[in-house]
């Protein structure tokens, strides 16, 4: 099982790596950052979600429809923390 710290760092490094690959300017990462203001588009977020599924072994988006779509980076990290534990 992934620890809280490792989930957080997997998510943030995923954001940074995909931003680099896709030549996007990433906004400073904080829990309050609105995902759609992060500088990443849907394709970037899709790639991040796919890679997190590979590294953490979970896809919280597909886990159930009672999960609300995340709005901020904090929501996004929490989604993965909850799914990984």
């Amino acid at each position: 099982m992934a620890t809280t710290t490792s989930v957080r760092s997997a998510v943030t490094s995923g954001f940074e790596q995909v931003a680099r690959e896709q030549k996007k300017t990433l906004a400073p990462l904080s829990d309050g950052l609105v995902l759609l203001d992060s500088g990443l588009d849907s394709l970037c977020l899709a790639i991040i979600v796919a890679r997190l599924e590979d590294s953490l072994g979970v896809d919280p988006f597909s886990a159930g429809s009672d999960v609300a779509f995340p709005v901020t980076l904090g929501d996004f990290i929490k989604l993965y923390e909850d799914a990984a534990h």
Partner: protein, 466 residues
């Protein structure tokens, strides 16, 4: 009932009434339909376009909308240039459609349009014109859709085939304000535009230059009641803090497979809205809407006799016959659009589970990344160009944000063991090659090195449809 007797888009829009209360609302400007009664967006040059084959290539959707309203039943052909058409395809498009006039909101013809006889500027500043516009010529509407070789296919419609699914005749009491995340020069967006015009509503047009947040704020401020998009558009909207700014009565999904999760999310987020997913394609037209909240569609829709839309499943794919299907392709390379019996093969593979059919993917593995099609062969060709690649298989991977992503299995020329030390380097080189030559959505999100790929007895790569 579907109307088949619409003389022109303008007369049908006018017949729906209340012109002074209805508007086309763009990101930068707006026009009420009333202004068009004795005004023109074409600077009084409409007559020059009579009987011509006109390419409508505007930057903005509002100017495109105005040109379409004015030119239907006047031009012989309207070629709707989507905003992302590569300039390199323009000469072929223009030659194939016999384009002899260009309508644009730019100051001068753009690159790729040499030798066009007539160039007319279209603007949202409506200028007064003399006599009332008239037109009775049936206009061919040409929509562009992506083809297998990257060259677009040109699909021929008429106003009646495009409007076949629209019942029209809204009542003032529930005047609709339509909107869509789509561009109206795509089939899905054009459907919404026509619904607004023919049904007596207004329309909020999206803009490529506007963020999701700004669009939602603007749509909310305009009181949007009916709004459509692909499942990917909607997932993105639901991730916006401004999603609650809109309070639609009707939410529509099309263009991609609507899974149960996105339907449930939308129902929970917009509890007062009817949520419907539609099946339509540029070639087949609108086939059906499903409003029961469940993914897939009732099996009873297949095989109905004498229905407006007849559907059957053959070799696993959905086939459709109706008055809403396109007439033909322009250009001879693409072959007939319908089979001997008049059915369009949609290429969408379906599977029956209990009393419903579900969409499982595209035949030939065409991958739909957030509404954009990817032909695996095109990506494989780029990967296979790397000197150390023997062969590759590009396939789809399900994704909760864009519906699907592209991933690649790659066989190297050397033994995998021998290349082991270089795997990260090779992966980087292959990715780099893809990024340099392919659109972003076509670049594999992941590469997996494998020792072999399955090949059929006839020597073809084994491709799985779903």
């Amino acid at each position: 009932m579907p109307h088949t007797d619409r003389a022109s888009l303008w007369s049908a829009a006018g017949a729906a009434g209340r012109l002074s209360e209805r508007a086309l609302l763009g990101a930068e400007a707006s026009v009420t339909l009333n202004e068009l009664v004795r005004g023109s967006s074409l600077g009084g040059r409409l007559e020059e376009l009579r009987g011509r084959s006109v390419l409508v290539a505007t930057r903005d959707q509002l100017t495109a909308a105005l040109a379409l309203i004015e030119l239907d039943a006047v031009a012989s052909r309207l070629v709707l240039c989507p905003p992302d058409l590569p300039v390199t395809h323009l000469p072929w498009v223009m030659a194939t459609a016999g384009v002899d006039a260009l309508v644009s909101d730019r100051a001068a013809p753009g690159p790729g349009t040499p030798g066009v006889r007539t160039f007319v500027t279209c603007t949202p500043r409506i200028a007064p014109v003399g006599p009332e516009r008239n037109g009775e010529r049936p206009t061919e509407w040409i929509l562009l859709t992506s083809g297998t070789t990257g060259q677009p296919k040109m699909v021929v419609h008429t106003l009646s085939s495009l409007a076949g699914a629209i019942s029209g005749g809204g009542t003032p009491a529930n005047a609709a304000v339509w909107s869509t995340f789509y561009d109206i020069r795509r089939y899905g967006g054009l459907q919404i535009f026509l619904r607004a015009l023919l049904g007596g509503g207004s329309m909020v047009l999206s803009s490529a230059e506007e963020s999701t947040a700004d669009f939602l704020i603007r749509a909310g401020a305009r009181g949007v009641t009916h709004i459509s998009g692909t499942p990917s558009h909607w997932r993105r909207a639901l991730m916006s803090p401004f999603a609650h700014r809109i309070a639609p009565r009707y939410v529509r999904l099309s263009g991609e497979i609507a899974d149960q999760a996105i339907l449930d999310h939308l129902r929970a987020f917009f509890p007062k809205a009817g949520v419907a997913h539609a099946f339509a394609s540029t070639e087949a037209g609108v086939a059906f809407d499903v409003g029961d909240g469940f993914a897939g569609f009732p099996a009873g829709l297949i095989g109905q006799q004498n229905a407006d839309v007849e559907m059957k499943v053959e070799d696993g794919s959905l086939r459709i016959r109706s008055a809403r299907t396109a007439t033909r392709y322009l250009g001879d390379e693409d072959g007939p659009l319908v089979d001997r019996d008049g059915f369009v093969d949609t290429g969408d593979m379906v599977e029956r589970r209990a009393d419903r059919y579900h969409f499982v993917g595209r035949r030939g593995g065409i991958i739909n990344v957030g509404g954009s099609k990817v032909h695996p062969e095109e990506v494989e060709a780029v990967i296979n160009g790397h000197p150390h690649v023997r062969m590759s298989l590009v396939r789809t991977r399900k994704n909760p944000i864009t519906g699907a992503l592209v991933v690649a299995d790659v066989v190297l020329t050397e033994e995998l063991e021998a290349a082991n030390g270089r795997v990260a380097e090779l992966e980087h080189e292959i990715m780099q090659r893809c990024r340099e030559t392919l659109s972003r959505h076509k670049v594999p999100a992941a590469i997996r090195f494998v020792s072999a790929l399955a090949v059929t007895p006839s020597g073809k790569l084994v491709r799985h449809d779903a």
